[in-house]
Symmetry: C2
Subunit: 482 residues, 2 copies
């Protein structure tokens, strides 16, 4: 690889190095899997500081062009197929089929617990709104949503008016509308790495370049954001500050403020996806980015999928009125308006205070399930490394060295337990040593059983490895099973 | 305008003429409103048959580049703004505000009658499915729809299997998904002229070239379709064969067969939008194109918006499985899946036979309202020319010579009645002498009042014209009122 450096150019040296490498990789001059020289060696041969090369590698890594492999350093990454919506939908559907098997305990899907759904209350409200709301309720509605519900949602966020609310059939449609309105193919989008799978699908389908910022136990590494925003000039930053999916971590107040400051400074809008903030098991409630936002810089997404149930398909988006006015016409083309029966049912459910009662109930139960799963994993799977999240749905665990998540899943399905393998949550194929375990939708007994089965799968895989049957021998068979 | 003809070229002469004119118009060489030479004169000066020039003019007319004006022959048409989804959504919203005024009798919106909605039955079913369906009902659902509902829909069309069904929140989403999957900007789409407003919006937003085929009392002029399909090579034909919106006409059996034959011969898929076929007031039920289709050539769209109510947001698409497999992943990005409460409610409503009972009731009532409005229009507005439709929602009337629909609407709003002006239903700005009157959502008393008010508006407008206050003096003021 030839890397040309022009010391007289106003372009920083690390950008010149990254530019040469990027060009070569995209032109096919460095195939997937090819090892790059260690940073120290390349720095020596170019006559630059080692940190300059590290910066260049970091940039290419965040663009998904490089990956780090244990034992083989930095290598060129194989192009991702995650952008292919068709493949992804198929994979999700097939996974759904497996996790739906009655003999498999699913820790895979991020779903609430159906046995806790307030069905009687919802049923009573549905029949009441139909008889009292009358025919007008099932008549036409404006694309932005049922006015009483827009008022109610606006009232939940300081400084937000009903004009700034768009009711949606789940927050997914918000991501889709934003990608249609704000993104052109090739535009950069910054996400946490790992991040929500559905966001990767939607941004990927829009042809965005998805740049990941690593997370630690306090969420997004804000210290890495400044230079990335300056270099990549992204069209938006997508973040889940509270009980992040899949990692479970939350951004502390200082990082929330720092994120907003950086976003304002670089004039990049922040899309805050807030599915889990109400599911807090200990510690304090933190203000949303939207509540902290004094510069109209945050587009806020909320959903009832995780707090109540997915099937009603209600969420909302809060953003400055000009954004709503850009999104509503596209929504009008997509589905005219959101189901008014569901909008009215959610309105009454909230208006009568049922959500708070329901949250109190599920918080207690989910906290218990989290504790049961954590304890059972410590007992049955001591090989796993994980933290206990203070809220949300997920335990995010690191596998023992050399164990790959997809190999483990095959063993686990044999034992009768499932989970999500980590790499689907990364924009760049990393995370093969990670698994996501979801605790809300299983009974405590099943969670204990699931952990035992997972432990057995881990032992079986280790045994096979010792016998020399490496996982990759069987890798080809995995796809149809999944 | 220079028109060059090369008699040795394999390109037919009329295409050469049309090509020269098209190029000149698009380059701005012929401004909007400029009169073209009469066909006989142009034919003489070019030394070709008059029919060759007529063919060229017809082609450009169907592309929306020309229009015919009474008294001034063929002129260049002003570019349409109908493709601008934002403008359109705003116009619809503003119109909605006006037609929602309690002092205005709306004959504008194509909505069913809320006082006939089976609210009690729907409410009872909603609370029942929630209590018997249990939590699983509100859990995740696959993108293609709730399986029992897919089975039921498949059973309604001969030869269609559940795999060939995609459940949607209204048929609008079907048009959107098809435009995303099948259309690139610049692709041609053939529609009836006039046609459903929403289809013009969706195809326009996709950047399609929308080519209109005129309709007569028997629906689409199939005799004009053959050469158009050959010339324009469209990606799809969009049609409403039964009780067409806005014209009310239905395609007889022979034309249905001829349409399918042509579509197969030219290998163009047919999108059949069937919102009104169950609302038949006299005459026989005709088979849908989908039922006649033996070559998997028809993509069928159905909705409950017109037969039941808009607010539940349920429709479906039936198409060969490979089409479904292309659309489902895009739907997954847009909203994951359609509201399962609404899907289950519709399923039970159909399964228990309530739809047939409801249809019997609304058919009788809507027939009565159609008859009341027709009779009242004949009495109060003898200037209008219209046919009485055998089903559906609309009376499609031609205004007296020289009266423009938008001018009449301003007068009509002053009198307290509204309707839809005709040009919004045309891909090319024609229809300014047409209005659409919707009868299902008003009581017979209101229909009679509405007709009287419309008669008064017609008289007032005629009086103003006689006084020399022409409509165009006030035209600029119309937009904000609308």
């Amino acid at each position: 690889v030839k890397i040309r450096i022009d010391r007289k150019s106003p372009t920083p040296i690390y950008l010149q190095i990254a530019g040469s490498l990027r060009e070569t990789i995209l032109a096919g001059g460095l195939p997937a899997g090819r090892k790059l020289p260690p940073s120290r060696r390349l720095a020596g041969s170019l006559g630059v500081n080692r940190s300059t090369v590290v910066q260049a590698y970091d940039l290419l890594w965040s663009e998904g062009l490089l990956e780090s492999r244990v034992g083989s350093g930095t290598v060129v990454r194989a192009p991702s197929t995650a952008n292919d919506a068709e493949l992804v939908e198929q994979e999700v559907r097939e996974l759904g089929r497996v996790i739906g098997r009655s003999d498999v305990i699913s820790l895979a899907g991020g779903l609430p617990s159906p046995d806790l759904y307030p069905l009687e209350t919802l049923g009573r409200i549905a029949s009441e709104v139909l008889s009292t709301g009358g025919g007008e309720l099932l008549q036409w509605c404006e694309a932005a949503g049922y006015p009483p519900l827009r008022n109610l949602f606006a009232g939940q966020i300081p400084g937000v008016s009903p004009k700034e609310i768009l009711v949606l059939p789940g927050s997914t449609q918000g991501l889709y509308l934003l990608s249609r309105a704000l993104l052109e193919p090739g535009d950069a989008v910054v996400v946490e790495s790992p991040t929500y799978l559905g966001a990767l699908h939607v941004f990927g389908a829009a042809g965005a370049r998805i740049l990941g910022v690593p997370v630690d136990e306090q969420g997004m590494r804000i210290d890495m954001l400044d230079s990335l925003l300056g270099r990549a000039r992204p069209k938006l930053i997508y973040t889940q500050p509270s009980y992040h999916n899949p990692s479970g971590f939350s951004l502390p107040l200082e990082r929330r403020r720092a994120l907003l400051d950086l976003a304002c400074r670089h004039r990049v809008p922040v899309v805050e996806d807030d599915a889990y903030s109400r599911l807090v098991y200990e510690g304090e409630d933190l203000p949303s980015l939207k509540a902290l936002d004094t510069h109209d810089h945050v587009i806020y997404l909320s959903t009832f999928t995780k707090t109540l149930c997915p099937g009603l398909r209600i969420g909302f988006l809060a953003a400055p009125a000009p954004v709503i006015e850009r999104l509503a016409p596209e929504k009008y083309l997509i589905d005219l308006f959101t189901n008014t029966l569901a909008q009215a049912v959610i309105f009454e459910f909230l208006h009568r205070g049922h959500l708070e009662a329901h949250l109190a109930r599920v918080r207690e139960e989910y906290r218990r399930r989290r504790d049961v799963l954590s304890a059972a994993l410590r007992e049955s799977c001591p090989q796993l490394e994980f933290g206990v999240p203070g809220g949300g749905y997920f335990i995010w665990a690191r596998l023992p060295r050399g164990v790959r998540a997809r190999d483990l899943l095959r063993e686990a399905l044999g034992e009768g337990v499932s989970f999500m393998f980590g790499d689907v949550f990364y924009p760049d194929g990393r995370g093969q040593d990670r698994i996501r375990l979801s605790f809300p939708s299983q009974t405590p007994g099943n969670l204990e059983d699931g952990a035992r089965r997972l432990g057995a799968a881990l032992r079986r895989l280790a045994k096979k490895k010792r016998k020399g049957k490496t996982a990759s021998d069987e890798e080809i068979a995995l796809r149809p099973v999944l």
